[in-house]
Amino acid sequence: MSESKPLTTSRRTLLKTASCGFGYFALAGLLGSATTKALAEDLLNPANPLAPRRPNFTPKARRIIFLYMEGSMSTLDTFQYKEALQKSGGKSGPGGGTLTPSRFQFKQYGQSGAWFSELMPNIGTRADDLCFLRGLYTDTPAHPQAVVQLHTGSANAALTRPSMGAWLLYGLGTENQDLPGFVTVNPTIDFGGAVNYGSAFLPAYYQGTPITDQGFMPNLEAASPKDLQRQQLDLIQGMNRDLAATPGAPEAVDGVIKSYELGFRMQDKVPALLDISKEPQHVLDAYGVKPGPWGSFARQCLMARRLNEAGVRFVEIRQPGWDHHTNLHQGLIDQCRMIDQPTAALLADLKQRGLLEDTLVLFGSEFGRLPTSEGVDGRDHNITGYSMFLAGAGVKKGFSYGATDELGMKAVEGRMHMNDLHATLLSLMGLDHEQLTYRYAGRNFRLTDVAGVVQNGIFA
């Protein structure tokens, strides 16, 4: 229960009486129309939690798209070629088990000569745009903890942390006031579920907005014609403003008023934005868009581009199904058939539209898989060394950072813990991971907790 404090000066009172308030109202008046006035209010009002905010230093990237491969893709069979492993079949591995080379053929692509297996012929063509992180490691070899750590920086289930998209919104605000700043498409319901796009102890307006891989968001369809709904909304907002004006009213009422207006605008903007059927046929073909589960990731990639283009700060899309303890061979063939073409198409499309100039793309899983075999046709989890790749704003192109040992077992060079990855991503977005804090439960919290080193060796 909160106690009311009628004598405390509220932000509202301060704004009305302080000298800056006067100028602010004058500007709003000069700008004229109600819409411009509301917009000016949003941009000038420091209390608007979603207003665009100045980063700690000049950002190299303004938006992120995360292509999340849930379940942990075997990088040793896709984009992490290990010559020694290919020659060590049948020998025993450093941690026990039998070393098992990839059964897929690898070749080099582009000027950079990056290796890709035959499972990724399309992503291979983008090799010279990619920045590989080859020395990653994490803490927990179980999906529920590792997935949550990848998304929130901590696997500690006793205290849920805000997700990285929420931290970015908290630090940077949102560029498009008609859309949520953090959208997660096809999010997982396992492995922590909503925790992976939640705001935890950050205010709720920083949480991610989930959308299905069909582009569906619940309750987005207006229940009544626009004119009638506007009348109703005016009544609701009138009630809310009356409440906000009463002494001791919770400051949160301001947030409610903003959320209703955003919701109202989203009814118009979001369905059109997510309707990928309006894209030209050659674009649909390039991404490989089709109905059903085989086209899920292609649809998500196209939605991601549209959301990114509209200014959404953080977009995550997800392809599940990479946990190949069994059925590694056929499983990888099927999975890569779903993601190879659309991923390459997204990278090419972003580049062609100039979006890659200020967008950072991250591709990868919660951990990697072992160079040894599990059963007859599988690989078990590996948290000691694996790869992801980045592309776009602020990072070197056709570049490879760090390495695992010759068998792909353990990160030995350019080692990068999950906290280091987060520190580096925040840095690219113009945020100092040690300064981006939120006070909760008696201490300041960070996405990187008390660790994290920015790996500026990858910066362009």
Binding site: M1, S2, S4, P180, F201, P203, A204, Y205, Q207, T209, M217, P218, N219, L220, E221, A222, A223, S224, P225, D227, L228, Q229, Q231, Q232, L233, L235, I236, G238, M239, N240, D242, L243, A244, P250, A252, V253, G255, V256, I257, S259, Y260, L262, G263, F264, M266, Q267, R439, Y440, A441, G442
Partner: protein, 153 residues
């Protein structure tokens, strides 16, 4: 072992706002209460408005609030009628105007029968049948959607 945590900010996000505006559940509940308010035929509009405030917000409306609501109801009813006249003249054969308004109440009460009601029943039940009912349901929904109803103070 005791955990010490800070006070959590009370916030509403856009998806929650959309739920309050568009979800079948909230619309259905609004229609229930609107029907119940309209069912007592001897009350004046001012008395119905007061009853709604008592039930939803546990307080009386101020005279200004009551007046605002009456203005809202009149304007909403008017706009609703106009929109539906247009719809009727466009598609005269699709709208059965001879349906008595009581049908809608029957539609809702079927939802109380044992077992899940068919989806069609729900969708029918949350479409108001006449301008007056639409206006009252919209007003009740506004009370449910208000910050005053949503927050514990």
């Amino acid at each position: 072992m005791a955990a010490c945590v800070g006070q959590r900010d009370a916030t509403t996000v856009a998806t929650q706002a959309l739920f309050m505006l568009n979800s079948p559940f909230v619309r259905e509940q609004s229609l229930y209460l609107a029907d119940s308010l309209l069912a007592s035929r001897h009350q004046s509009d001012a008395e119905r408005i007061r009853r709604a405030y008592e039930l939803v917000l546990s307080r009386d409306p101020s005279p200004q609030e009551s007046k605002k609501i009456r203005t809202f109801l009149a304007r909403y009813k008017d706009s609703y009628s106009k929109l539906h006249e247009t719809a009727d003249s466009n598609q005269p054969h699709l709208v059965n105007t001879s349906d008595p308004p009581s049908d809608i109440t029957a539609g809702i009460s079927r939802a109380d029968d044992e077992g899940d009601p068919p989806k069609q029943t729900i969708e029918r039940a949350i479409q108001p049948e006449n301008p007056k009912q639409a206006a009252w349901a919209s007003f009740v929904q506004s009370l449910y959607a208000s910050a005053e109803f949503e927050f514990v103070r």
